[in-house]
């Protein structure tokens, strides 16, 4: 069953199998950056808690990295049985070869039946690799789960968010990523999860990848996937300065994150990491403000789960108005400065 020879080894790993086969044992892969837990992890935990409530079972967290003590500590109050931690300099960078290897090893050693993570570039890199190491299948961007008669069915979005597919997933263990917006963080639980350190033997880790560099735009603004409000700009913006002045200006007035449509990223006005849509980030804030965005289906795929959508666009026919709760037909160059001014004067 194990494709990867190393995945059967259990050196240094605690072994605990669920007493009843039918019970679920979920493992939630935590995501963190700069020593801080990423809140999307809690959406994945919310999914795990939902499965446990419906089908019975427990869930653990797995934290991989270097110097992740604070991250592990932060995860103890969410109802998990254990927080498994592999803390080692070799895991400092989120390289898929090593992280997937350790994830697969943890799954094999702990009798895990389901692995879940919030959909992100990290989990999309690591989970499919770990799944294949264990000869398992996977479903991406799950938005709902039903437990029926010992089995599970899952719902996920396909075709740029236009189609909702209902699917089953069989095999030795199920791997899933979930859309963070679809699952709320689990309620704080009374007990504290036990933290268990996993032994890491660096020489046994695969070594196909070498980290070279990272370029992150240092920004005082929140990340679009974590923000309560997102202000995004589209084709109507012609220069980086204009983008910063209008989109950035309104974002700062609202304490919001900034995002962009593909057209703006393609034109080189903003970095790729700001792109929202089918191939960029999926966000679902309380408030999404679309400035000069026409609303191609690929863009809508990344933001239509937002609670309130505002669109400001000069073109009354723009498809963005079909999903907007509040549409203002106006030139953003006039409307946005007025909006910023009135927000500031409150």
């Amino acid at each position: 069953m194990n494709f990867w020879p190393g995945s059967a080894t259990k050196r240094g790993w605690s072994e605990r199998r669920p007493s009843v086969e039918a019970l679920s044992h979920l493992l939630v892969l935590a995501e963190h950056a700069h020593g801080r837990l990423k809140p999307v992890t809690l959406a994945a935990a919310g999914f795990a808690a939902q499965v446990c409530a419906r089908a019975g079972g427990t869930f653990d967290f797995l934290v991989l990295g270097e110097g992740v003590g604070a991250v592990a500590e932060a995860l103890r109050t969410y109802g998990a049985a254990r927080v498994l931690v592999a803390d080692h300099p070799a895991l400092r960078e989120p390289l898929a070869d090593k992280h997937a290897h350790l994830l697969a090893q943890a799954v094999g050693a702990c009798g895990v039946t389901m692995v879940v993570a919030a959909a992100s570039t990290y989990s999309k890199d690591v989970l499919p690799r770990a799944a294949a190491l264990l000869d398992a299948g996977m479903l991406s961007e799950v938005v709902a789960v039903q437990a029926d008669g010992g089995g599970f069915t899952f719902q996920r979005l396909m075709f740029a968010g236009n189609v909702l597919g209902t699917a089953t997933l069989e095999g030795p263990v199920r791997f899933l990523t979930v859309r963070p917006a679809a699952f709320a963080a689990p309620a704080s639980a009374p007990g504290l999860a036990v933290v268990e350190m996993l032994a890491v033997e660096a020489v046994t880790l695969p070594n196909y990848l070498t980290f070279q560099a990272r370029e992150e735009k240092v920004s005082a603004r929140p990340d679009a996937t974590e923000a309560r409000v997102v202000v995004a700009g589209g084709r109507a913006l012609k220069t980086s300065q204009e983008f910063e002045q209008l989109v950035g200006g309104l974002a700062d007035a609202l304490g919001a994150a900034v995002g962009a449509s593909r057209a703006v990223v393609d034109a080189g006005l903003v970095p790729n990491s700001l792109q929202i849509g089918q191939t960029g980030k999926a966000v679902a804030p309380e408030l999404y403000v679309a400035l000069g965005i026409s609303g191609a289906i690929q863009h809508l795929a990344g933001m239509k789960d937002s609670r309130v959508i505002v669109a400001i666009n000069r073109d009354p026919e723009a498809p963005i108005f079909e999903v907007a709760d509040y549409g203002l037909i106006a030139d953003i160059h006039q409307a946005v400065p007025e909006l910023v001014d009135k927000l500031r004067r409150r």
Binding site: A96, A132, M138, Y208, L209, T225, S273
Partner: protein, 251 residues
């Protein structure tokens, strides 16, 4: 160096997708199919490497029913040298596709395997990673910059992550899945189409590859995703602010 490019046939990205009334699939009447846009970027990257002298042969691989031949011809017209079609009509998932591609890779022994980061039909983003694991080789995903090392034993890859760009070197052979910004795929020329007619397309079956293509996931039912209803048109910035404050309570 031999490069293998995986190519999936998907509905054209500009097609309006409708679900069949029985929920068993999408309506295909009148739908144009094309090479997955991300796979086209992967193929363009392979062709550029060959033009720069970094690659000797490009093999494009599809897994499909007979209709897959069209997509492979398009790939050959773009500039691939030959094609392999794994004939399979049953529904597959990335788990099964990775198994089939791994079997093809073991036959072909490419130094570099390129494919899109995701297919725009099922939006899974799994196949490349699963393939790399099955072959026991490295992977670089979300790649928007790709340079071969001086002795072609490594590739330097710029990766688009949620927080910015990350640069890694991956030991070859490896699987590289490509992102939007790697390049702009070329248009197929009339001469390219003419040349493609003479290029070989080899057909194999999963049984010939010794692979059981039973998927792990099964799609039971499709439905149109719930649509948002259009809200109200506000007449002024003042009205917008008032409604956001008093009605939606978000500012």
């Amino acid at each position: 160096m031999k490069i293998l490019v995986a190519a999936k046939r998907v509905p054209d990205p500009d097609t309006r997708i409708r679900v069949r009334s029985d929920g068993a699939g999408i309506a295909t009447e009148g739908v144009r199919f094309a090479l997955n846009p991300f796979d086209a970027i992967a193929l363009e990257a392979a062709i550029r490497l060959k033009e720069q002298g970094g690659a000797s042969e490009i093999v494009v691989v599809g897994i499909d029913a007979e209709t897959g031949v069209e997509t492979l011809r398009a790939g050959l017209a773009m500039g691939a040298d030959r094609a392999v079609l794994v004939r399979e009509v049953a529904p597959l998932d990335p788990f099964a596709v990775a198994k089939l591609l791994a079997a093809v890779c073991r036959r072909e022994q490419p130094q570099l395997i390129l494919m899109g980061k995701q297919a725009i039909d099922d939006d899974c983003n799994q196949t490349g990673q699963m393939l790399a694991a099955r072959l026991g080789i490295g992977q670089a995903t979300f790649v928007s910059r790709l340079d071969l090392g001086p002795d072609q034993s490594t590739a330097r890859c710029g990766r688009e992550t949620d927080s910015g760009t990350e640069t890694v070197t991956v030991t070859l052979p490896a699987v590289v899945t490509v992102d939007l910004r790697l390049n702009e795929p070329r248009y197929v020329t009339a001469l390219g189409i003419l040349r493609a007619k003479k290029k070989p397309i080899q057909e194999v079956t999963p049984a010939e590859l010794g692979v059981d293509p039973t998927p792990r996931t099964r799609l039971l039912h499709l439905a149109p995703a719930p649509r948002r209803k259009a809200g109200v048109r506000v007449q002024s910035v003042d009205e917008l602010l008032a409604r956001l404050r008093d009605e939606a309570r978000v500012v």
